[in-house]
Every structure is written in C-alpha cells, then in structure tokens.
Symmetry: C2
Subunit: 693 residues, 2 copies
Amino acid sequence: MFVPAAAQAQDGPAIAPATGGPSVAPEEDGYALWLRYAPLEGQAKAALERFDPRLAPVSAISDPTILVAMQELDRGLSSLLERPLAAGGDANVTLDCTSDVTGPEGSYRITGAASGIAIMAADPRGCLYGSHALLRELSLGTAPGRISLDQAPAMPLRLLNHWDNPDGSVERGYAGRSIFDWWHMPGRSDPRMIDYARANASIGINGSVVNNVNASPLFLTPRYLPKLVALADAWRPYGIRLYISARFSAPRDIGGLGTADPLDPQVRAWWQAKADEIYAAIPDFGGFLVKANSEGQPGPQDYGRTHADGANMLAGAVGDRGTIIWRAFVYSAEDETDRAKQAYEEFVPLDGEFAPNVIVQVKNGAIDFQPREPFHPMFGAMPDTRLMLEVQLTKEYLGFASHLAFLAPMWEEVLDSDTGRGGNVAQVVAPAGMAGVANTGSDRNWTGSDFDQANWYAFGRLAWDPTLSSKTIAREWAAQTFSRDPAFLAASVPMMLDSREAVVDYMTPLGLAHLMGTGHHYGPAPWVCDLGRPDWNPCYYHRADKGGIGFDRTAGGSNALAQYAPDIAAQWSDPAAMNQDYLLWFHHVPWDFRTRSGRGLWEELVARYDRGVAKVDDMQTTWQSLSPYVDPQRFRAVSEMLAIQRQEAQWWRDASLAYWQHVNGLPLPAGAAPPARDLKAYQALEFPEAPGE
Amino acid sequence: MFVPAAAQAQDGPAIAPATGGPSVAPEEDGYALWLRYAPLEGQAKAALERFDPRLAPVSAISDPTILVAMQELDRGLSSLLERPLAAGGDANVTLDCTSDVTGPEGSYRITGAASGIAIMAADPRGCLYGSHALLRELSLGTAPGRISLDQAPAMPLRLLNHWDNPDGSVERGYAGRSIFDWWHMPGRSDPRMIDYARANASIGINGSVVNNVNASPLFLTPRYLPKLVALADAWRPYGIRLYISARFSAPRDIGGLGTADPLDPQVRAWWQAKADEIYAAIPDFGGFLVKANSEGQPGPQDYGRTHADGANMLAGAVGDRGTIIWRAFVYSAEDETDRAKQAYEEFVPLDGEFAPNVIVQVKNGAIDFQPREPFHPMFGAMPDTRLMLEVQLTKEYLGFASHLAFLAPMWEEVLDSDTGRGGNVAQVVAPAGMAGVANTGSDRNWTGSDFDQANWYAFGRLAWDPTLSSKTIAREWAAQTFSRDPAFLAASVPMMLDSREAVVDYMTPLGLAHLMGTGHHYGPAPWVCDLGRPDWNPCYYHRADKGGIGFDRTAGGSNALAQYAPDIAAQWSDPAAMNQDYLLWFHHVPWDFRTRSGRGLWEELVARYDRGVAKVDDMQTTWQSLSPYVDPQRFRAVSEMLAIQRQEAQWWRDASLAYWQHVNGLPLPAGAAPPARDLKAYQALEFPEAPGE
C-alpha cells in the first residue's frame, strides 16, 4: 500500500535538482495548488514565445501590492515559458494602477494585443487581481493577443473563516493541524503564510478570520496582538485583511469586569479600548466575527439584550474602521420550535435595527451545511440589513477530506435561488459578501485531499463573480492544477460536476438531512435518538416510522414553509409536484408515496442510494483512465481516496437501508442488493479518533 | 517578519522545474533531512567522476531490502554526480549480501579501490546499511578508492519510541501532528512513511514503537491491525520492525474480562490469543513496550503482582517471536522516598526474575530527561537483566524545538559513564539496545526545527556505535544537511557541541533539575510549590531556602548516593571536590559555599546563568556568519529560532535569579545585570496553548 522510495524514484528523475533541493521530495505533492504555472506546450507555448513577454523593472516600484503583482507575473510567465523573461527593451506587459477603470476596489481591465498586454486598474489591488487573471488565462492556453477582460468584484467582502484554535487544533478540520503557528508567532515566519496569501489573492479573497467562531478570548489578549500584527503585515501586500472571532464574554473572561452586558458602560468602554488597541497596531484590521447565544456561546441574551444590542455595541467600538459580522446560526435547546425556523424567528424581527457597519452572516441553509438544503429563508426577508452568505469548504457533513465532492454546484444552487423577494441569493448578499469556512490545514496539499483544493478555488471565484458556472470554475481549476490537456478536462470536469450529487444520493437523498454520526458527523447514524437535545438527533430530522418518513414543515406541521415568500413556498407545498430533491425536507409522506419518477417513495429512496454508489464507481473508472495526465504521486493519492469513498458510500447505503427496513418492515425492491451486514453491526461501529471535533 | 513570495522567488530560480513541480515550493525546506546527496564539487566531484560509478542492473534482484539498497545507491550516486549513472558495462559498485562477513545482523564491510567498491555483508540488511555508509562517506567528500569500512552494530535493538496518539496528537511533540495518519490507514499511503524508513535505515535504526507509552487500547483492537500491517509491510524492506505500546489493562478495557491480573488464566489466554493474532498478520512484529504502574498507568501491582510477573506473562505470550520492553520509569505519589531512588528500589530486587525475552528500559537519569542528570544508578546494578537505555530526542525539558541543543554530548556523557560495576553504560546496555523518544512530526522539516534533525541522526549513529564522538557525528550531520564546506563545518560543529551546555547553564546549572513550568514544562517556574504531588514541584527538587540550595542525597539526606557503586558514590560525596556540574543534585549547600571555581555558590550560580545566555549570543553571531553556506529559507528559519532561544534564555536567567534572590535575600554579584522584571511578573506568565501536553 505504501509506495517504496524505489517506485517514487522511478516516477521522477533520479537526479536531485541542481538547486541542491531535496532529492527525496516527491515532484508533485500538491503544495503548489493551482499556481503551478506548468510549462506551456504546442501552439500556446509558441504564441507566448512569439509575444516574448517583457516586464518593466520592479526596482522603482514602492507600492508593496504592485511589487508582489510584478513578482507574480515574473514567476508565472517565466514558469509558463520555462525560461527567464528577457530583460531590457520596452516592456510589453504593463501595469497601470492609477487608470480610470471604474468600479469597486479591485476592479481591473486587461487588453491584450500582439503588441502588448495592458493591465489597468484604479488601485494596486486591481493590478494584483489583474495580474493573476492574466496568468490564469495564459495557463488555460489563451493566446496573449486574445486576452480581454473587464472585471469587478460582485461583493465587497470575500472572506475565509478559519475554525482554528490557539492550540493548533481545527474544529471540523480534516487536513492536519492549523496552518497558523500561534505558538511561534511572531518570532517565526512560515512561508506557508505567504503562499496562503498568494493563493487567496489569485482568486480574489480579500479577508481572513483567523480563529474559531467558538472563540478563545486569548486572541484579544495583549500577548496575541504581536502575532496578529505579524500576520496582518505579511498579508497586507496581497490585499488580505485580518479579522478575528471575538468571544462576547471577553470583558468578563479577560477584562476583569463582572459583566459582558452590551449596555453596561464599563463593557462598552472595554470594547472601545480593545478596538483602539488593535487599530493602533493594525490600521486596516477588518473587524470582529461573533457567534453569540448559540451552542453554548455567550451573548447579549445572557443579559436580556438582543442580537442587535450586542452587535451594535461592538459596531460602535470599531466605528467606521471595520465591520462586525454577526452570525445568524442560532438555535436553542429549550426552544421547542422546529430548529429550521429559529434563526429566522430571532433575526427577522430585528431587521433595520443593526448599525450600518454590522453584517449578519447566514448559512446557506436553515440547518447546518448538509449535503443539500433549500436556501435559508432569511435571504430576502431582511431588506434593511446587510446579509452575508456563509458556506462550508471543509466537508463536515460530506465525507470529510476522503470523499471527492466539488461544492461549486451546491453553492451555485444557493446563489441562483430566487428568494421570491426581489432577487436571488447572490443579489441579496451583493452589498455584503460571502464567507467560506476554510478547509486548510498543515497537510502538504493544504486541504487533506487534492480535489478539496477545488473547493477553496471555487469559493473565491464565486465570491468574485457568483454568475460563473460550476463548469467554468471546474475547468479553470483542473487545467491549472492537473493538466490543460482537452482529453483530461473532458473527463475530469464532468466527474467533478457530478460528485456532490453522488454524496447527496448515498448519504441523504430526497431531502433527508443530518443523519450523520454523533459528534464527529462521520458515517451513517439515522438510528440515533437518545441525545440530550432533541435537535441533535437524526431521528428528529427524518421522523421515520412505520407510516412514513420526512419532516412535515407545511402548515400541518412546523410550517417552516411559511417563512419563505409565498411564490417559493408554493413551489414546495405540493409533495407530488415539487422538486423531489427537497421532498422529505418539507413533507412527511408514506413509504408508498408516488414520487415524480413514478416509483413509490421506498423504491425511489433505494434507487437513489444505489445511484450514489454507482456514481462513485464511475468516478473511480474515470480517474483510472486519467493516469497519463497526472503525476504518479497525486494520481495515487486521489485513487486511494476514491477507494475509501467507494467503501464508505456502500457503508452509507447499506447501513441506511438496514435501518429504514428496520423501521418500515418493507422488503427491498426487486434487484436491490441486501445490506452487507445487519443493522446491529452498523450500530456497533465506533470511531473514537475521528478527526475534526 | 514573514518573507514575501518575492524574496522567496529571488532566493531560487524563478523557473519551475521541467517536471512541472511546484513553483511556489521553497527550494530547501528541510524535508530531505541528511539525505540530500547535494552535488559534489571540486576534487571530490572529479574523483567520483573518474571512478564513474556503475551499478549492476536491479531487474534481477528479488530481495526487497537489496532492491531498496540498490535504488538508494542509484539515487544518491546520481544526485552526487548530477547525472544518471552510466548503464551497461561491468558494475564497479557491487553488493555481496551472502558474504562471509561475520558479526551480528547488519554488519558490513566496504573495500574501495580505484577499480571498484565492494559492499559485503552476510545478510541483506548489512548491504542496506553498507550502501548508506558508502553514500555518507562520498557525501563527506571521501574519494571512492579511499573508502574502507568494517562495521558491526554495537547493540541489537536501536528503536525510536513515538509518543503518538490515535487522534494525531503527540505527547511532548513540538513538530506538529503525528506523522502517522491512523485515520486514513490502511487505505491511504503517505510518502513520508517511506522517507521515514529511509532516514532510519541510513543511520541503523531497526525498529519503531509507533504509539504512546501512555497507551490507548485501540492499538490492540482488530480495527487497528490492518493499519499496523500496512506500516510493517512498508517498513520491512528497510529493516524497520514495528512495535506497539501495550496498555496493561487491555484485557479489561477491550477484552471483556473483569481483570488484567497477569496470573489470571483468562488474562494470560487473552494476551496469548492477541499475540498470535498479531503475529499471524505481522510475522516479524517486534513486540510490546509497556509503561506500567507509573503516572496512573495500569500495571501488575494493581493486582498485588510484581513488574516481573507482568512482564513475564507478556513474554510468554509473544514467546521467542518478539520482545517485551518494560519501562523502569516508575514513581509513586504515596511513596515518601526520594523520587530519584524509587525505580532502583522497585527493580533491582527483581534482578534475575525476568524472562530472557524481557528487556527493562531505563532512562538516562533517575528523574526525567533533565538538561543534565548523573547516569541512572540501575545501570550496572542488575547484572542478570538486560537493560536498555532510553533517551529523549524531543526536547521536553530543553526548550522544545525552539532551542538549538545538540544532544549527542549528553548521550555520550551517559554512555561513557563508568558504572563502577564492571563497565560503562554503553557496555551495560550492549546486550539490549537504545530507545529514543522521537522528535518527529508533521512539520515539513520533520522535527520542528532544522537542527533538531541532528538529534534524530545522532541517536541512530550512537546506537550503532556508542564510541563515536559527538564531534564526528556533528560533522557528518552538518556536512550532509547543510554544507560540506570546511569553513562552514569549522564554525557550525563547535556551535553544536557547545549548545547543550548552554541550555544547562541558563536553565538548570550546577546540578539543579526539574524547575520548568507546570505540565507543559515550558519556561522557568522554580517558585512552584503547591502541586498535588510533592515530587511534581520544582521546590521539591531545588530545596532552596535562606540557608542554602540543593537536594541532599548523601547519607545525611535521602542517601540516593548509596545506590551507586562505592567508587562512583565516593566521587560525588564531597561537595568541595566533586564535579560541580552535579553539585546541587547530591548536596544541599549554603549560598556562600566555596565552589571549585573559587567563587561562592551564589556568585557561581549567577556566573553560569550569564555564561548560558552569552553562549546563545555566540551561537547567533556564529550562525549569522554562515549565511553564505546555507540556502535562504533554512538560514532564516534557524536565525528566527535562535532569536527566540536568546529571548527565552534571558527569561530563564532573569526569572530564576529573581526567585533565588527572593529566597536568599542576597544582592547580585557586582557587575551582574538585574532581572528585567520583578518576580511577580514572571510568576504571572501563562501559556495555555503550550504544545506537547
């Protein structure tokens, strides 16, 4: 299973690079992400050679952002050409960072001609984004003279949220430890912090919240300020602003106060002083992200105040220097209401009460990053509040890093959803932005698996332009990350586009949700019904019994449907007519319910589980055919992950069916294979070392 | 502080390797360890070119160990030459693995001549070690014709002990997460597992205990067996046998038995079956390492049995297939005896009672891996028991990865110690071996800092040949890892040799011990005196008061001195005449005690603290002068670590002196700088995220 050094040596040249570099290091380990700038071949190479790119000397440049843009161009162009760029002579790749290009910060225009390529922007960040865009186009094989782009970011905030803790652990992290070495900062520099910034800049990400929303107050202590300064200084040239998650009870935890009541003058003064302390050291500090009164976190409700009271108090402390991002992911153990309704009920009445520099961050769906959820009903329901879309790059509920699931189609599904209230989700969040819960870690390939890099890439691209198709994004990423060979792309892109649907099919088909194992969320556990909080139990979500399955969210049930605009609610009110992908999310139906496929519900359910497993078979077959295009180490790594996914897809299918049969007493449809083991065997499985908790 | 990609790009060629390898990856990140095989220059290169090494084709070779030996030779020789080896013609580098070379397994002979180099051994492992030895000699610049070696390992077991847990955490680990991906094994292969085996084979390490001695019973469950098989299969060609730490209470924890009493027939049957299960899957499984009845771990004493009862029961289960390694690191909270005496008192009476395949593993000193301890009195005191020496590569008590401390001098000090009972420590452990608590982790450079790689290297080399000098080992390592330039070696080797003494001076001079912070062991905390267990308190060890300082272990005190052979005890009985490095380990003396330097104790103490800090100044100066010889990234990394070490050395010195002054009320000697802060400030420091616990 482990590949001997022998084979590794045979994979690549036996000779160490003349740089004296590591001769044992594999030649492709994924560290370079999509910034490999793999040498061009054929016509594309000839075209770039003919163009013979020349840059102006960087010596005179003082702006650090323009400097790194020029250096990235030098690195990328010379790598694509496999030769240093010609020095001297007139530059034919030029940056004009004080041009009259209009649009928000970061907008740029590229005009390519045989005579030269001009990157124009009204600010240095636009030049940086334009430089990366040029390198992307060239990496895809576009001829220099044919490149013409006019781009502006669709939303101001494009942020990663890291659920990373001071001790280096990462909540819901599946790629090793945190990439942030808080222990050695600021004394120690880590080249990863620079490559992280380069990768983000290349896709337009302009901010990073560096610590877990379940926040340690350590990040607000004086000892941590120099560490934060070191990161902010390192990232500034790349246009990345630093944010931190703030623990609402910090005035009590570390401030020596007896309360954290947002209306208490001492509390307000403490936060004001803390904000001033941070801004004195980090003038472009982004602001605070807050998870309050949710899953045990402290918040304003501890003092009888509202979310608006809490958010506005912090907003006053940072003033126009920064932003308060307040999470809407709240639900209460005491609250008997359908969990899917609680965030809406708590926040919508507060519409209009939030300060202008407050943004409310709303997850894509009303439960919690499931393989598929209908869009969150809050979108469109708070016209007088800026709402930000939160999606999860790390695959907490989609098989961890081991399952290949390209998430752009899921996010595209949400962004394109018509809220029925004057726009789709993308339009609703345009004044605010998007946040992605990061999937980065200390693993050499950054994200635990090679294909998870695509979710980082897709997040940045969609936050820049939510109208991009998943297919376009998949092509861009696959071509830059693996191979621009048309045959490779023709096979790998469809595989990526279908991969998330496969997970939905073998984990939670037909609108089922939250059936994962307790705590770690690894593997199937639809039978769990004994947890302290009702809404932590899978049985709370599937409501399966002899008579049927599904959560009745119609007027006859929790009526969560009524939180949507009437037109939208209407689409989902009739189980027979509606999109069956959401069927059991909104309806409890009998096992013999006739689905739109013509099959009964039970038959349809089994068919979808089987379809999911079959899709993984297809992915394995497809990948095996792509070995000529991929270096041996990454090819092997992906193959091994697909084998794990195939096993676990079967496990999901078999364990789920064993349980549903236990509930409904129905025989399997003709032709369906019986589960490999009996229910008890699946129920007995334990994974005490499952990562991510 | 973080270095922009720009600077990184300037460090190396801007062009990506033609392999299409990562263009953002730094050219030297430490991953290659000492196996860089950096291209030769000048005469050495000319000599090897003249020799024109040619290998026999590997196609016919079936033995996997000989195969990897040949492949390592191909990789190394071609890297040293910067060209592929000539194919065809008669081979002039030959392996004879069935020769009449005598000696234990792994012995080899190398005869080099202008006409050819022959590596001879009686077994494949000898050929593997010989191949690495040849590459080492060539890497050091020795001419092929001049290489003549006749080597045999000094001890049979040369093992790494990993204190790694199933969840990926590492107890006392300062290099990131565990290198073992238990979560994805056996499905996923990690090239690090092969490079780890290559590195170990290159220095003669022949076994690895892969989990923490504070052992999870998971490693004995059926779910883990395929993971262990995968590792054992991967390592077998490299001569690495797999061992695991066994939790003594496993029959109760996972076996469904009501007891773990080693004399209970069901318990014996359970272990027998478990051993048979493991050996059926891993025929060359090394055996079990056991930490019993120590620091809360279960053991035979829980059932009124002795350590011998427990060890012998397990020895019976593995039989002649493997070894039981039983740790002597035991001490009890209830026991009022000087902790330094407890292991001796528990084990020496059992001499002769252990089964032949049991080894008792004894730490280098009687307390716990302190910067300096006298050798453990058990060495030499159990003539009828095989004793193994346990040292710690990971620097739990020596500043973690941030402090440059080359530990070969410490281990040499112990190995060369005359036990006064017919041999030095090296001779005592020769029939058994050495164990090193590993310092490996997921950090790209393996050990958290570049210079900590030297401790891994030194451990292997000393276990192979304990008569090697620290200087020889330092030269070998530095030349292979950084530069073989004589000027580089002339400066870096002395710096390494003096580095451990610097730590002793600024942390625990004159025989002081265990003054580190509670739990994490980070930083100075001599004032701590309130912990539950007396022998967890620094004040227990230094016993400082107005009248004096030090632990009286003479007849007038705990009389631990009497555990040593009379001749040895005599050397340490007179505080005025003895080696002052052990003074306060064995004696409580007044502050005005006249030391051999002629200075009073207080003046001598202050002088040693200052000497330690000054040595770090010198290390920084030396390193700054070496930038011409080291690639920019590793040069920067080492510089940053030295800066951290300098700060912390000052902190150790200042905080310690502030506390001693608080105790003795004495003024600082003339010329000594006062501590930067007052005692309370040092006492108030907290490090909740300190690594390694």
